[in-house]
């Protein structure tokens, strides 16, 4: 039976997976919105988003709205593809575990 490490390790982390999934449903989202939805701390969230950015799965736009800094995140095409591949791999693995249990 295939082991867990075969899944994309960048996406497999729970918070990173939650972030990519959240961004899949929107065009762009602010850091504060992502923090509210995931319940993560600023430091952890920033670190995980940076990992996703380094992998090319997330794009960042920094801007000022009424003199207040605002950081917008959106999913890249690579990110979409990676998540789709991850879901396909998950389903495949789940199928195998079900068969393996029989």
């Amino acid at each position: 039976m295939p082991e867990l490490p075969e899944l994309n390790p960048v996406i497999h982390g729970k918070l990173r997976l939650a972030l990519l999934s959240l961004l899949m449903g929107v065009e762009a989202a602010e850091f504060t919105w992502l923090r509210e939805k995931t319940g993560a701390t600023d430091g952890n969230l920033g670190a995980q988003l940076m990992k996703l950015e380094e992998a090319g799965y997330v794009a960042v736009e920094k801007r000022f709205v009424q003199r207040k800094p605002q950081t917008l995140y959106c999913m890249t095409e690579e990110g979409c593809m990676a998540l789709a591949e991850y879901v396909a791999a998950l389903k495949e693995l789940l199928g195998e575990t079900v068969i393996g249990n029989r």
Binding site: L22, V26, W33, E36, V65, L93, T97
Partner: protein, 207 residues
Amino acid sequence: MSAEKIKVELTERLELIESMIAEGRRSTTRWGWTIVLWGVAFYVAIAWSLGLFGGPIWWQHYMAWPVTMVGAWLLTVILAKRMSQRNETPVTTVKRAIISIWTAMGIAMFALLLPLGLSGRSDQQVAIAVVTGLLGMANAASGLLLKWKAQFACAVAWWLAGMWSLFGTETQSVIAFLVGTFICQIVFGIYAMICESRERRRGAANA
């Protein structure tokens, strides 16, 4: 790791993906208040144009609708900006589509009604039919997009009000518009606000 443990973990991951995508797509934008605000603006404009606020005749005839509508538009923009800054809602395709539909309707209304009024080629019944037709179109498009039957019902109500306005007398056309505004703006707007508040409470409980 046992096969059973792996299965549980993988299932958890799949559930996490599904719930987070749904969370992101769930429109957290509040629209209900804008519907009520425009309903109130329609009533103010009608009351003003019928002379209930007094003032010279030209003031009632030529200023009531343009001033009220521009005022309502400005108020909508200012309040929407303030709310979006406070709530930091994400940009979704549905949100952008809804804003596009209502912006296009607003522009179409100004582009049609202003020349109709200034050229004198229209009477009150035709003007009401144009307004209700466009409101019906925007409500129908939004209702279909959001798969919201109540909003589509509002579209039908607006179209019926438009037909009533064209086939009835001048007084009946005003009544049709007043009834349409009450049902589709005030009642539906309050209902939308209640639905949004319920949705937010559910969202907060799930967070």
